[in-house]
């Protein structure tokens, strides 16, 4: 496996996310703090859901395969719901923070808007989620070995990297959608985010049938991307202007 697989998978999984980080987040200290706090919130949600799963597993019979599988499914779903709950909590915290920043600013407006915070929070969640999924795999990829020697899929590392990438993007878009739903009291947006998340996690049960998990996830990501773009004020016209490098007027740009 060694370095080639290691670097390849690292850049597939984290390349776009680091690009986003470097170009949009790294310059502004406030955004970095929001990113790290978002990562922390995701971590706490993972901790609580692992606690529940751990208790359930310890309280059950380790020999019963079906039960263990059922508990795993329950663990995954519960974890997803808890992550979304913590996203909501983070939204509440950021709302308060914006009020604080507005109160402290000289000209009565916050240095960062809730939409920017939504984007950064999404990236924070995504990066932490991706890191937790992928880092151990990457560390193992550095060492010797043959993937799938016991009959499992040989594409394990590669598909994990792609899945991680799509999850990071999805978290980013879900952050934008979720916060927008919370801001404008559109509960169906929030519900859509939760359902999408459950779907993506549920689809990962199809692994190693990767066509069943990766392809729909990417399609969902494209849909979420388009929706988040539209919600952030983008439009087909903006896109056209951007792609054709035309100078535009005062059109807002998403997530900057």
């Amino acid at each position: 496996m060694t370095l080639a697989v290691f670097f390849g998978c690292t850049f597939i999984a984290f390349g776009p996310a680091f690009g986003l980080f470097i170009f949009t987040i790294a310059r502004d200290p406030l955004r970095i703090i929001i990113l790290i706090a978002g990562a922390f919130f995701w971590l706490v949600s993972l901790l609580l859901s692992s606690l529940i799963w751990f208790i359930a597993v310890k309280a059950s019979d380790p020999q019963d395969e079906r039960l263990q599988k059922g508990l795993l499914i329950f663990g995954v779903m519960f974890s997803v719901l808890l992550q979304e709950a913590f996203r909501f909590l983070y939204y509440k915290l950021l709302r308060k923070a914006i009020e604080g920043l507005v109160a402290l600013s000289e000209d009565g407006c916050s240095p960062i808007s809730i939409q920017q915070m939504a984007y950064v929070a999404g990236v924070g969640f995504g990066l932490m989620s991706g890191a937790f999924s992928m880092i151990n795999l990457l560390a193992d990829a550095l060492g010797p070995g043959t993937v799938g020697i016991h009959g499992d899929s040989q594409l394990y590392f590669l598909t994990s990297a792609f899945m991680t990438m799509v999850l990071i993007f999805l978290h980013t878009f879900w952050g934008i959608l979720f916060f927008h739903g919370c801001e404008h009291r559109r509960w169906w947006e929030i519900a859509a985010v939760v359902i999408m998340h459950l779907t993506v996690s549920g689809l990962s049960f199809c692994n190693p049938l990767y066509v069943g998990s990766l392809v729909p996830s990417y399609l969902l990501m494209a849909a979420a991307a388009a929706w988040a773009y539209l919600l952030s004020g983008g439009s087909a016209q903006n896109l056209r202007r951007f792609l054709l490098c035309l100078r535009s007027g005062a059109s807002p740009q998403p997530g900057s």
Partner: protein, 458 residues
């Protein structure tokens, strides 16, 4: 010449010192009214008055000190502005500390993961005399608690000794002590570290080259830390010696003792800084009374000074001068950390010029850096390094501890902005770090491993 809290050096090349320690940024700021200009004496007075109070915040803006001598209304108005600016620049200060803490942790984790030497058990320090090789759990726990008691007592004794020396103005002794410890760190520990790294990567190096490398590294380090040097080089050296010290701790502290010591030292830090008779608090107050920089050794400073918003353009040339330095020095906040017997490092801090601010026609708004004790760096890195060393090859635990410590630091800085006095930097971060270490290692790891084996994603 080595300068250390020696006021006679204050007249010497202040500009060089300051220019080397200053960043060139001057962000635009709305100009103050002309009425805020004050005389030198008044300014110095208000300045001293302000300092005597608990108004030393992380960003004690010089604008606050620009108020007229003792005009309460203006002072309170300026205090409000000061607070605004304090919290506004707060994010920048958090990042200014995130970066070095992250770098130190990265160095420690990279070393732990690659160099076998620092994870091998090769004896213990005399500060932890009880062995943990006992068969029973209870005995092991007891031994680790006893080790902790011994270690903390040593630290308390050393700190009290240091505070007494400082109180009775035995500056030369302190100075010599610090020089000796930084010599040891910069030369001996670096030599050992370099030797182990070369062994790990099977790189041959002859003694003459080694001598030249270590000599240069150590000599430049001594100069940067104890005398003058470019700020970033100084910061880099402080990070490196913190990392070296943390590696020594990780190697020589036995497992359970390390965790108990981390917990105990956060409690000690809390008490030493916040209790009225705590040694560190007495240190801070003594230094304040004497109008000296709080114990220039053992502190990492992210000093940054901006000279902004000149009231009169013709005085703009008088930019970074003694005024800003004086105000900056006195207004700095300090995140305290216990000074430990082993962790004696120093940094260069130019001696505080005590002559009052002479001319104030320029309005300066300063961005003071935030100071963090090197002991904090060390213990953060010990926690993360231990997590990397002992968490059954799991990177998730290391990452979780890292995020927890950063968030703890962020919260501590937030509290600092609110309370504006020296605060202990260890308790919150170490608490979070410990919680996350144990919970991630025991709860999250089995969950994530199970998910990974089925290639499930949450």
């Amino acid at each position: 010449m080595i300068t250390f809290m020696n006021n006679s050096d204050s007249e010497e090349e202040p500009c060089n010192e300051r220019t080397s320690l200053m960043s060139a940024e001057s962000p635009p700021v709305p100009s103050y009214q002309d009425g805020l200009q004050a005389s030198a004496a008044g300014e110095a007075q208000a300045h001293r008055k302000r300092r005597a109070g608990s108004n030393r915040g992380p960003n004690n803006i010089a604008g606050g000190e620009m108020s007229g001598s003792g005009i309460p209304v203006r002072e309170s108005a300026l205090e409000n502005e000061e607070e605004e600016l304090t919290l506004k620049y707060g994010a920048k200060h958090v990042i200014m500390l995130f970066v070095p803490v992250t770098l130190c942790m990265i160095v420690v984790v990279a070393t732990i993961k690659s160099v076998r030497f620092y994870t091998e058990k090769n004896g213990q320090l005399i500060y932890t005399p009880f062995s943990e090789d006992t068969p029973s759990v209870g005995q092991r726990l007891l031994n680790s608690v006893l080790n902790t008691i011994v270690m903390i007592s040593v630290i308390i004794v050393m700190t009290v000794f240091l505070v007494l020396l400082y109180k009775y103005r035995c500056y030369k002794f302190i100075h010599g002590w610090l020089i000796l410890s930084s010599l040891m760190l910069l030369f001996l520990f670096t030599y050992i570290y370099l030797g182990e790294v070369l062994k790990t990567y099977n790189v041959a190096m002859d003694y003459p080259t080694l001598f030249i490398v270590i000599w240069n590294f150590g000599a430049v380090g001594m100069i940067c830390i104890h005398w003058k040097g470019p700020l970033q080089l100084q910061q880099a050296y402080l990070i490196m010696i913190s990392a070296l010290m943390a590696l020594v701790f990780i190697k020589y502290l036995p497992e359970w003792s390390a965790w108990v010591i981390l917990g105990a030292i956060s409690i000690y830090d809390l008490m030493a800084v916040l209790c009225p008779k705590g040694p560190l608090r007495m240190l801070v107050e003594t230094a304040q009374e004497r109008n000296e920089p709080i114990f220039p050794a053992l502190i990492y400073s992210s000093a940054m000074m901006w000279t902004v918003g000149m009231a009169k353009p013709d005085t703009a040339a008088r930019g970074p001068s003694q005024q800003t330095w004086d105000a900056a020095e006195d207004g700095r906040e300090h995140l305290r950390s216990p000074s430990h017997a082993e962790s004696q490092m120093s940094e260069t801090r130019s001696p505080v010029p005590t002559h009052p601010i002479t001319s104030l026609e320029e309005l300066e708004e300063e961005e003071r850096g935030v100071k963090l004790g090197l002991g904090d760096f060390i213990f953060y890195s010990v926690l993360v390094g231990k997590a990397a060393a002992t968490a059954s090859g799991d990177w998730n635990t290391t990452l979780a501890c890292f995020v927890a410590i950063l968030i703890g630091l962020c919260l501590t800085l937030l509290l600092l902005a609110v309370f504006k006095k020296a605060l202990p930097a260890l308790p919150i971060s170490i608490t979070f770090g410990l919680i996350f270490y144990f919970s991630t290692d025991n709860l999250v790891r089995p969950f994530m491993d199970t998910l990974a084996s089925h290639q499930l994603y949450i």
